[in-house]
Amino acid sequence: MKSFDYVRASTIAEAIAASAMPGAAYLASGTNLLDLMKTGAARPDRLIDITHLAGLDRVERLADGGLRIGALVRNAHLAHDAAFARAYPAVAEALLSGASAQLRNAATVGGNLLQKTRCAYFYDPFSACNRREPGSGCAALQGENRLHAVLGWSPSCIAVHPSDFCVPLVALDAVVEIEGKGGRREIALDALHRLPGDAPERETVLEPGDLVTALRLPAEAASFAGHTRYLKLRERTSYAFAVVSAAAALDIADGTIRQARLALGGVAAKPWRARAAEQSLAGARPGEAAFERAAEAALADARPSGDNAFKIELARRLVVRTLTLAAAGTPQRLPALPGSPFSSHPGAHA
């Protein structure tokens, strides 16, 4: 690992000031960053440890019914918060479908949002990778690419964002709170990650020094609690990244879908909100016909970036399955295997 300076920030202002230097990176739990530093894919000159910042490890109910989750809240802590899991069951399911118990105990909410792609060529400093080394090319284009993007990719980069957590969050209109040199601002999570275009190295819209301080869920997000699921197809049932995943949330009244939310994971460089599919579901009766139309709409623009055409059909079928299970009702208790499409829990018909 390349050597670096270590700075422990005791206030947000101190952290932002310390990050002004080029080559600086924030360190939270480091489950992703340290791994990248060990391979040499990340080579920061200076780490600014934000784990001792006060007040960023809280989950607060807001007066308007929304929820603010501090950036340093641990993934496991949030997923096992009973009130959180009741209000946002698909988010809890997504969290628990990711990584291992050890990693979820360490990894933070803010870190999850900002984790890097798991593209093997990004991790390998000896491979061409425009995302890691602009202008060097993309080894994945002619390489092992069956798990790569089918939506929103460009010839400069076909990597996917690996987060499970972000998928239901983007469906539920989560908002990211940011502090930076210019003060405090907020943006929709949907606007945080960038598609690669011709500048894949700019992974997010964050500016140097920007610090994600919290994540917010609007009050309305809890209205889907009765009909929501996160399903994740992976190459083994636990402790693996998604091949494709889907979060569905339905507001059903009098046998009709009033409002639908749908997002896909493992398909693009960002969590993929499927708005056309949502529109096709609004006003429809829940059932196979409507769900298949939604799946077609969600994947209408998909095209393979390599040996991954199978992911498009897989994603379509997963959308139908996720909508079907969401319509059947959120299970009373999270399934033993979170995110598994094979779960036999019929669900409580809320």
Binding site: T51, A76, A106, S238
Partner: protein, 165 residues
């Protein structure tokens, strides 16, 4: 430049002058605090052999920088038994053949301790398997590991009930 940190390891306060911020918690334990029971497997957070409890939570010590753990309370496999009396989780791993070569075992046991403290798995073997999926066993002693965790959890629950009665 040196980085002084102070942490409690297996109940003992340790003051350490780190000469390099790159030292992981795993390397601190093994190489500088003479606690080699915690194993280095992949060193990438994938195998779980380095699992320890930090402030009561199981984590991969290979993906943790020691310097950022100033003030932490760490429990390693060396701090689990009471003198010559094995912890019920350790005893259950022996009783159920929850290992073969033993390399992953300290991590498995620390992970099992964390899992039991989390209280999420209960008596459901499927939930135990899922919750232990961050600990790989190349000898594939998984069947024994799951039995050991379930049995240890039951014994701990029973003794808790007895002491509460």
């Amino acid at each position: 430049m040196s980085f002084p940190i102070s942490l409690t390891v297996n109940g003992v306060k340790r003051n350490v002058e780190l000469d390099d911020p790159r030292v992981t918690l795993l390397d601190l334990l093994r190489e500088r605090l003479d606690l080699p029971g915690t194993k280095k497997g992949c060193d990438r957070g994938q195998c779980g052999a380095c699992t320890v409890l930090v402030d009561g939570r199981r984590v991969n010590s290979c993906l943790a920088l020691a310097v950022s753990h100033d003030g932490a309370e760490v429990l390693t496999i060396e701090g689990v038994a009471r003198g010559n009396t094995l912890h019920p989780v350790q005893a259950a791993f022996i009783e159920h053949d929850g290992f073969q070569c033993g390399f992953c075992t300290p991590g498995q046991i620390m992970s099992a301790l964390g899992l039991i403290a989390e209280g999420q798995a209960g008596s459901d073997p499927e939930r135990v398997r899922e919750a232990m999926s961050g600990n790989l066993c190349r000898c594939s002693a998984y069947a024994g590991i799951v039995e050991a965790v379930l049995d240890a959890q039951k014994k701990l629950d029973d003794s808790q009930q007895r002491s509460a009665a």
